[in-house]
Amino acid sequence: PGKMLTNISSLCGACCSPRRAFIFVLFVAVQKCDLHKLDEAPATEVVMTREEGLKYYHIMQTIRRMELKADQLYKQKIIRGFCHLYDGQEACAVGIEAAINMSDHLITAYRAHGYTYTRGGTVKKIMAELTGRRGGIAKGKGGSMHMYCKNFYGGNGIVGAQVPLGAGVALACKYQGNNELCVCLYGDGAANQGQIFETYNMASLWKLPVIFICENNRYGMGTSVERAAASTDYYKRGEFIPGLRVDGMDVLCVREATRFAAEHCRSGKGPILMELQTYRYHGHSMSDPGISYRTRDEIQEVRSKSDPISLLKDRLLSNNMASVEELKVIDVEVRKEIEDAAQFATTDPEPPLDELCNHMFSNNPPVEVRGTNPWAKLKSVS
């Protein structure tokens, strides 16, 4: 429940339209984070402005709708291969981005569509990549798991490998002295990979500005956390690295924790670890119905009690920060954007065959590539 400041409320009255006075600034209490090797904690009284609230709503709704559209297109066999959907986890991507700059860096594993969007990819280009078209963000060469944009290093298919990569990006930030940091994400499944512990060690030794974030959605594919990890306190697994366990369904909680973590990194203290407790509505991927290892009741309970978009919506409405109508307007806008993107993604042509061998090497003269038979001599340009 939010507390209203009556002073601000009356100020607001003066600068709103005569028909409706909204609360422009809200002080909200968010859940306390569990701490590991930390004396200080992220703020539990946080500020959300109306503008921020509407923005977070818009972005989360866009991700939600985009993922649901991808589900649809996959069932129509217009998207093929692997497709790992992010619906339910929107507050993580949006909360993180709200606390860092576009000049910071981010890397994740394969459940990456949400992050591709928050890092600057357009819905159109993301969807066209899923459908494997030339207008895709990776020109159709990468697919669902290999999307890239500025300061976003994918989209990585080998789960766990992205963690040393992220620390390497952080090393480059420290090396270049640019005060940037790298947010480096992995799931509860990957959290048991050895290379992550190698990375914790080096990132700590060298005080790299990296925020390790474990998105704990309770299941690594079909294996629940209890069956995979001897310790499910993922925020403590960094041992000598300070850690936070965060409510990953509350965008403000995520934002606040990320702010805290970013401050920690930028002050030269080295890495920090955040565990975001979150949930995915879909199965592991589109080939997993997601109900053999968990109950429909569980999924329904999360949807009704902890949906990140609903939580934000309730907060906005019950605190008079926005109206039902204007949220509907946003919904309509989002739907249109998704429809337009899907239209593009289904009609844009596939990449031309003469692109097949391109992008082998950067800054290289053209090379010849052997095709399927000795007479097939294909051309590759940078």
Binding site: Y153, A161, V169, Q195
Partner: protein, 360 residues
């Protein structure tokens, strides 16, 4: 003197040669003797100086001066920021190096030997080699993975494997295998200046071997193009193709065969991938006979690839005999000295194979 030197070294001793290692300063005059180790060291030094984005990381590269002293003096000169000692965490630090390359630096990631690179091979292939393609050209990975490859002396099975074929199998990588000091220097500079992932296969037994280096090859901008082989010796009767240490063996065999009137053309591949097949073909079209020589195992190896390529191209019609492969024995490397010697191609094996190929 050179051949007795070679036989001394072939017996397996790793000796740092002190003789004649004057540095070349100023203008004019003679070529100098430089060991492969020093050539690599100089190349690293010059490239670190030339571009501040270049840095070296690996086990013992800094304060220990390098497990094989290749990075001697660099930490003292460039400090902790540019020369980084890592814990024993190949998968982790290889990934860190790749990430740093993605974010704009130009790392040189050293594997103490390429045997240890197997721990990190996912980062080399899936994170480094494939990324430029998967991102449709948005994300280059300018990284060099270097270290000693193949057999050493008495280090047994887990420390003696040749990885040329493994890495050269993969699109997106360039794989380079220098033989002498000039190769080491010029190819390492090219590798560091290349905007793509390069696997740079050195050889521990060659580190201490001295070669004459021309004035030109000592210049700071001396580079050898990746993807171009070199004809080390002209000949008309048979083509010998090799890489790394065995180029020396081929030249030794050629010297012996010349006394019997058999003139071998010896080609030093220098680069395994992309392989300079044209140079091999041009030579075969002249000599009509081909023998490949490598230290690695025969199955699916460098020689196997050369056979396939020659069959697919114009040189096939010029062959008077099937291609012969001289390779390491198809076993894990044994420890005992005699067993080890007999696990790798010797000069006499090359001589024998040439004569069989020529039907002499």
């Amino acid at each position: 003197m050179a051949s007795s030197l070679r036989s001394f070294l072939r017996s397996g001793k790793n000796v740092v040669l002190v003789l004649g290692r004057r540095r070349f300063h100023g203008s004019g005059s003679a070529a100098v003797q430089v060991t492969v180790r020093d050539a690599l060291n100089q190349a690293l030094d010059e490239e670190l100086e030339r571009d501040e984005r270049v840095f070296l990381m690996g086990e013992e590269v800094a304060q220990y001066d390098g497990a094989y002293k290749v990075s001697r003096g660099l930490w003292k000169k460039y400090g902790d920021k540019r020369i980084i000692d890592t814990p024993i965490s190949e998968m982790g630090f290889a990934g860190i190096a790749v990430g740093a390359a993605m974010a704009g630096l130009r790392p040189i990631c050293e594997f103490m030997t390429f045997n240890f690179s197997m721990q990190a091979i996912d980062q080399v292939i899936n994170s480094a080699a494939k990324t430029y393609y998967m991102s449709a050209g948005q994300q280059p990975v300018p990284i060099v993975f270097r270290g000693p490859n193949g057999a050493s002396a008495g280090v047994a099975a887990q420390h003696s494997q040749c990885f040329a074929a493994w890495y050269a199998h993969c699109p997106g990588l360039k794989v380079v295998s220098p033989w002498n000091s000039e190769d080491a220097r010029g190819l390492l500079k090219s590798a560091i200046r290349d905007d793509n992932p390069v696997v740079f296969l050195e050889n521990e037994l060659m580190y201490g071997v001295s070669f004459e280096m021309t004035e030109e090859s000592q210049s700071k901008d001396f580079t050898i193009p990746i993807g171009k082989a070199k004809v080390e010796r002209q000949g008309s009767h048979v083509t010998l193709v090799s890489h790394s240490r065995y180029v020396g063996h081929c030249l030794d065999a050629a010297a012996v065969l010349a006394k019997e009137g058999i003139e071998c053309e010896v080609i030093n591949l220098r680069t395994i991938r992309p392989m300079d097949v044209e140079s091999i073909e041009a030579s075969v079209m002249k000599t009509n006979h081909l023998v490949t020589v490598e230290g690695g195992w025969p199955q699916f190896g460098v020689g196997a690839e050369i056979c396939a390529r020659v069959m697919e191209g114009p040189a096939f019609n010029y062959l008077d005999a099937p291609v012969t492969r001289v390779t390491g024995v198809d076993i894990p490397m044994p420890y005992a000295k005699t067993l080890e010697e007999h696990s790798l191609p010797q000069v006499k094996d090359i001589i024998f194979s040439v004569k069989k190929t020529l039907n002499i």
